[in-house]
């Protein structure tokens, strides 16, 4: 086939434009890793890897930095948030797919999608102005008077309830990831073939038995992938927790104590870091966070892809 040289030239230009554009993604991810490594090299050289990860020191005045307190805060808030959010999100998904009458399915589905679109700073601000006072006045004292009285659990609820603490931050994080997790779980539930469910009903299974024994096992890959995705999101979330955590570098055993996460430290201290070592340590924290969330997100993607392949068969 004869094509004019001009056509070939345009083709080549368009091809290279699109190719370059798609490789920007790779460029960014490699660029981020290189820049983070490079910027944190000073802190890596000074504190090493294990010492940095296990040290609870964070003292800008003496120039001693460790990541243990912020990693601890990140893990506690994320784990608690997932603990609160998962049952609720799965409950919503079960309700929307199996229980709700048809005319309610659409509106609730849309409401969930819209709520997932609300930016995290709105959740954070609402947490500061509305939730924190409620927590301090009602919920936290109530917890102290009930769960706090149990000897083995009491240490979790010590201290003065201020509302600016690990518990409030976890609750906000949980509220924020509920719509997200619910929508992925719902999509996975919806992939269960109707025939399989109908056969279970035909042999006399109750609705709950169908959900428990047919829908959940069928969609567990998707739900698990969704949970991991929410975990990844929660790990890197900044604004929802920045308002209500207090940026306090310590290992707080009480949930009613102020703490800090990697993201909160970055948001509060980045522009105030006055020494090269301080800034470099903050970059080191960012590197740790980036690697943690990248691994979790990769795991979630692995499960979601596996689920996709299973259903498309």
């Amino acid at each position: 086939m004869a094509t004019s040289p001009q056509k070939n030239f345009s083709e080549l230009i368009f091809l290279s434009l699109t190719a370059v554009a798609s490789f920007t993604v790779i460029f960014f991810i490699i660029g981020i890793i290189i820049v983070l490594l490079n910027e944190s090299s000073l802190a890596i050289g000074k504190f090493g890897l294990m010492d940095f990860l296990t040290s609870t020191a964070w003292n800008p005045v003496t120039g001693v930095f460790g990541a243990a307190t912020t990693i601890y805060g990140t893990l506690v808030t994320t784990a608690l948030a997932l603990l609160f959010a998962m049952p609720t999100a799965i409950g919503i998904a079960i309700f929307v797919t199996e229980i709700a009458p048809n005319f309610l399915k659409g509106p609730i589905g849309i409401a969930i999608e819209l709520l997932a679109a609300i930016p995290s700073i709105i959740y954070g601000m609402w947490g500061l102005f509305t939730l924190a006072p409620i927590m301090a006045k009602y919920i936290e004292p109530a917890l102290q008077n009930t769960l706090g009285k149990i000897p083995a659990l009491g240490f979790l609820f010590r201290g003065t309830p201020m509302g600016i603490d690990l518990l409030t931050a976890s609750v906000i994080l949980a509220i924020m990831i509920i719509p997200f997790t619910a929508s992925i779980s719902r999509d996975s539930f919806n992939l269960t073939p109707a025939v399989v469910k109908e056969s279970a009903y035909a042999i006399g299974a109750t609705k709950w038995e169908v959900v428990k024994n047919v829908v959940l096992p069928y969609s567990k890959l998707g739900v698990f992938g969704g949970a991991a995705l929410s975990l990844g999101r929660a790990l890197g979330e900044t604004m929802a927790v920045a308002f209500v955590l207090g940026n306090n570098h310590k290992i707080a055993t009480s949930l009613l104590d102020a703490a800090s996460t990697i993201t909160v430290s970055l948001a509060n201290e980045f522009t105030e870091a006055d020494s090269a070592l301080y800034l470099s340590s903050l970059y080191y924290l960012a590197l740790v966070l980036f690697i943690m969330s990248f691994i979790i997100l990769a795991i979630s993607k692995f499960f979601l892809l596996k689920a996709e392949r299973k259903y498309s068969r």
Binding site: F23, T24, V25, T88, A117, P179, W208, R233, F294, L297
Partner: protein
Amino acid sequence: MNIEKKRKIESFIALTLSGLAAATGLFWLLYILSDVIIHGLGALHISLFFNDPAPAGEEGGGLRNAFVGQLMITVAATLIGVPVGILGGTFLAEYARGKKFARIISIISDIMVSVPSIVVGAFIYAILVRPLHHFSGWAGAFALSIIMIPVVLRTTEDMLSLVPWTLREAAFALGAPYYKVIIQVVYRGAATGILTGVLLSIARVAGETAPLLFTSFNNNFFSTDMNRPIASLTVSIFQYAMGPYGSWHTQAWGAALVVTLFILILTIAGRLVLKWRYKQ
């Protein structure tokens, strides 16, 4: 009690619990939304849009600088992010269709969509802010466009893949080169889908705060110079809400309502466009 009754009761309890879970979840979410609307409406005053901030602690003033700054950063980010995202998605869905590395790029984009946005801010700080010795609106726009590109790229890829292959073959048969087929046939077929992706990606970045903290920073004065620090609504909300003054808190609620409404409208528009297209 016979076993059937037990099973029925068990089912009833489990379903009630999940109904309750759904109600709790929706309750908190609606509570947040109504709280933002109630507090925000009280703060929506004409001066919020047309006045610049008053000196700290004084009454009055508005957030005109932040509205303008936010608009400029978002538009700049869109102008950078959307073309790159669409072109990148085109490469994956057309030229590199079915290739292994295209698969890898698309998986990495999916991961990039959820990468902590504050890390992106730190990245841009190191390459665009510190070398130039000052915060700038452009740095903020670049940070947002890095978050935007993977979103647009993935939607474009998915939407182009939905265009039937026979449509391309028909165009090839007329002797059209591939780039013309893509631009004149494939893009047309996928236009609404891509538009939805663009709208949703704008909604996604318009509420981002963390990547702007160390890039565009903040500016208490009215400025349209993208080479200088520039105010944005989200960073202003953070600063005002954490600040000590009642009037700041009120303005933060007002700004929060505007941001929320803007994002919800974009999201709804995106869904309507998609629904309208695929209903036909």
